[in-house]
């Protein structure tokens, strides 16, 4: 490996040898509890700052719960696969894949307009999730696969 390998730039050698990590959940909301120790372990390994770690947890909870509640319509027994990879020292990438019918969480119909300030409709229980995803993820990308859906979330890490 050359010293100028763009994927290894500024990254200690031992980190470049770490394999990507994968977590497979079943399509039940209670499985989301398994996200936290996994994410905490990754945050510790990659020295993720607390605010970034908060943003990652927020977005993954939202994205995975969307998949379970809307993609799989709450039916248990299906897989939700989350792959983690450090794109480089400054960016962490999470890829969530499922085997659900087409469901684009970033589609126009998934983003209700913000009600007027002061309107009681601001206290509707739904509709906040997609705004939070857009605010707290560095970037989001949806792709329909032949077997399901793929959502890619990227987070910048400031060291």
């Amino acid at each position: 490996m050359s010293a100028c390998d763009p994927l290894a730039a500024c990254m200690p050698i031992e980190d470049t040898l770490q394999p990507a990590s994968r977590l497979i959940l079943e399509s039940r909301l209670s499985e989301i509890d398994l996200l936290w120790p996994w994410l905490e372990s990754l945050a510790a390994r990659y020295a993720v700052p607390p605010d970034t770690s908060f943003a990652i947890q927020l977005c993954l909870e939202e994205a995975v719960s969307n998949t379970i509640r809307h993609g799989y319509r709450g039916q248990p027994g299906y897989p939700v696969t989350i792959d983690f990879s450090p794109a480089n020292v400054n960016e962490l990438v999470f890829v969530i894949e499922d085997q659900a019918p087409p469901f684009d969480p970033l589609g126009d119909r998934a983003v209700p307009p913000m009600p007027a300030a002061g309107s009681i409709d601001r206290l509707e229980p739904g509709g906040h999730g997609i705004r939070l995803l857009r605010k707290f993820a560095g970037s989001l990308d949806y792709k329909r696969l032949s077997t399901g859906n793929r959502l890619t979330l990227r987070f910048a890490v400031a060291h």
Binding site: L29, S30, I32, D33, W36, D51, F54, A55, Q57, L58, E61, E62, S65, M114, P115, A117, G118, S119, I120, R122, L123, E124, P125, H128, G129, R131, L132, K135, F136
Partner: protein, 111 residues
């Protein structure tokens, strides 16, 4: 996740949340929050010990608050951390549920 309540002077009910308001945390506090909301005209929700707030946890604040406002009451949010406050502001609920970091100001906002 823990939830404690306190009756303060001036008819204010204070509910303090402590821990992670994720899906599991929300499930723990939802029933009690809704009971408190049904009994409150002035509700102060103390968030200073909430270390995480996700969209499902947000529902645990939004639904009881909606109930209180629906019967003519007031709700204020007190002391969130910077990230928790960012979640609140991104969702836009702070236009109805003002955020205060000073307890006296929070109490005054409920009068």
């Amino acid at each position: 996740m823990q939830i404690t309540t306190e009756e303060m002077d001036g008819g204010i009910n204070k509910v303090a949340l402590d821990g992670r308001l994720d899906i599991a945390g929300a499930a723990i506090v939802d029933l009690k929050m809704n009971v408190i909301a049904g009994q409150s005209k002035k509700l102060l929700i103390d968030l200073k010990n909430v270390s995480f707030l996700g969209s499902m946890g947000l529902r645990s604040i939004v639904l009881p608050a909606r109930a209180v406002l629906g019967h003519g009451g007031k709700v204020v949010l007190f002391g969130p951390t910077e990230m928790v406050e960012s979640v609140i502001k991104t969702s836009g609920i702070d236009s109805l549920l003002p955020v205060h970091h000073d307890l006296a100001a929070a109490i005054a906002a409920l009068q």
